[in-house]
Symmetry: C2
Subunit: 302 residues, 2 copies
């Protein structure tokens, strides 16, 4: 197999594009894809202050590396979830990368913000950890961005993440979620940062290849709470199809974006207001996070 | 495990409904589901002359058995595809059932209608057999129904068939197919019979259980051309999800039917007219079947 750019020995096959690259040309291909996604969806300009959310895994650290290479104005934010062992190793991976690159990393913790860790919060509210965690992350990342003067929250969701979410939303006909699924969600309120996903066309495998070639010290370990999550099930199902029919995932995603206006017709107008307790943006009187806090407190007292 | 109706020993588990039945009560459950689907979608009345398409497999023969039990006015039609061995065994299964039940079975053959069998037609037109076969079947079944005074073409498509088609249409955003996918497609032209699928909520496994309990002499063999078909791939992917999350397929199908009007907005008005060569209904000047015939002839001459 020859690299389709330099004709040297290829070592990375990108089946969805029927392409193969040598390590160096693959890095160029990856950076070009990231830049193309940013520009095609007008995600952000090169001077805008970006807040990149990093977990310490291959996707977010690869994106961090790519954004630095491409010269964007990026600050990383890591959230310590308080999961014994796993959270320490995640934080260490982010710190190691920041030190190596001399890059700007901020760290906040769920325990400092909420008084309890994610596992404890899930236990107290009798919710699935992943559901609580997703909600808390969206809330804290947005608040940190808005308060810190960042225009944009950037996340490392890759193509596999996006098509798994898409499949889940379609299997259950979550038309509201479908109407809001997009690699670029603009800000619709002064207290709401724009949210973008520059890796949305790149597979998990491509992000892994980039991280390995660039010798990024990422954490390979999955979150211990992720096991058995439906997302993994949807990824496995889609991998089964992709294996026999390469390019299906990307066509699925691109076709959805082309046709997604059809979901707008069923989506009611969502009115945004400020939470009466914390002042953050919500569609209800009291935001989901304040209700979660109340619930956690009530259970403790009860 | 106890039968949820008679409390006797259950031997058939229906995981999508968290239910289990003894063989006799399962048969009653199956018949009730078929009847409910027919009535809920106003598919046909008990006196209407129905043309049921039978392949000799578990689905179509189970449906034939069910429609006879429920007292519908059903005539079966089997199409001999001319696939060596497989087609003989398929025809024999249909004939055995008809003889046993004293039921009305008509048999036509692709070779008599087109001069060549399905494999030969696929070869001559350089098309995938499944694509040619599907087209030929729809054409011949409709023509036979309309010319014979049958109001309705009934097919044995089960839930697995329908969700596999739905997933395929969504993965490739075939909005035209999505707009037309429904268990009851009404007639929109005097030369077009109504098409219905009374088994659309029943899984392949449930149809198999019904056929086994009722001792229906079905052909268990798959069509030799089906191997590697994308439909099988989609079924495997959906089975993987259903295994961990029973009821997903049914929810996927029902959610789609609830929301399917959203696909109508993107679907252009399709104007039906009569083929200038054969007089059958088409959306173009010459119908797909006459073009297929021409192509087959041209290749032979060429």
């Amino acid at each position: 197999m020859r690299c389709q750019i330099c004709r040297g020995k290829a070592s990375v096959e990108v089946r969805q594009h029927h392409a193969a690259f040598c390590p160096l040309c693959f890095v160029q291909y990856f950076l070009k894809q990231v830049k193309r996604n940013i520009q095609a969806h007008k995600m952000f300009s090169s001077s805008e202050p970006l807040l990149l959310v990093v977990s310490g895994g291959k996707d977010s650290l690869s994106l961090w590396d790519a954004l630095l290479h491409l010269g964007y104005n990026v600050t990383a934010l890591h959230l310590d979830l308080g999961i014994p062992g796993y959270s320490d190793r995640s934080r260490d991976a982010c710190s190691a990368f920041a030190t190596e690159k001399g890059a700007d990393l901020r760290i906040i913790s769920v325990k400092e913000e909420f008084g309890v860790s994610i596992p404890e919060l899930a236990k107290r509210t009798r919710r699935v950890p992943c559901a609580v965690c997703g909600r808390v992350k969206r809330y804290l990342f947005n608040r940190y961005a808005v308060e810190g003067g960042f225009t944009t929250v950037v996340t490392g969701h890759n193509l596999d993440d996006e098509v798994a979410a898409l499949l889940g939303n379609l299997l259950h006909w979550q038309t509201g979620y479908l109407a809001r699924q997009h690699p670029h969600l603009p800000s619709t309120h002064p207290k709401l940062a724009k949210r973008v996903k520059p890796l949305y066309t790149l597979t998990e495998r491509e992000c892994l290849a980039y991280a390995l070639i660039q010798r990024i010290p990422f954490l390979a370990e999955e979150c211990p709470h992720a096991e058995g999550a439906t997302t993994i099930l949807y990824k496995e199902a889609l991998n089964h199809i992709e294996e026999a029919s390469p390019g299906t995932k990307l066509a699925f995603m691109k076709g959805f974006l082309k046709h997604k206006d059809i979901f707008r017709v069923v989506e009611e107008d969502v009115k945004l207001r400020e939470c009466t307790l914390c002042g953050q943006v919500t569609t209800e009187g009291i935001c989901a996070i304040c209700r979660l806090r109340e619930r956690a407190g009530a259970v403790v007292q009860g």
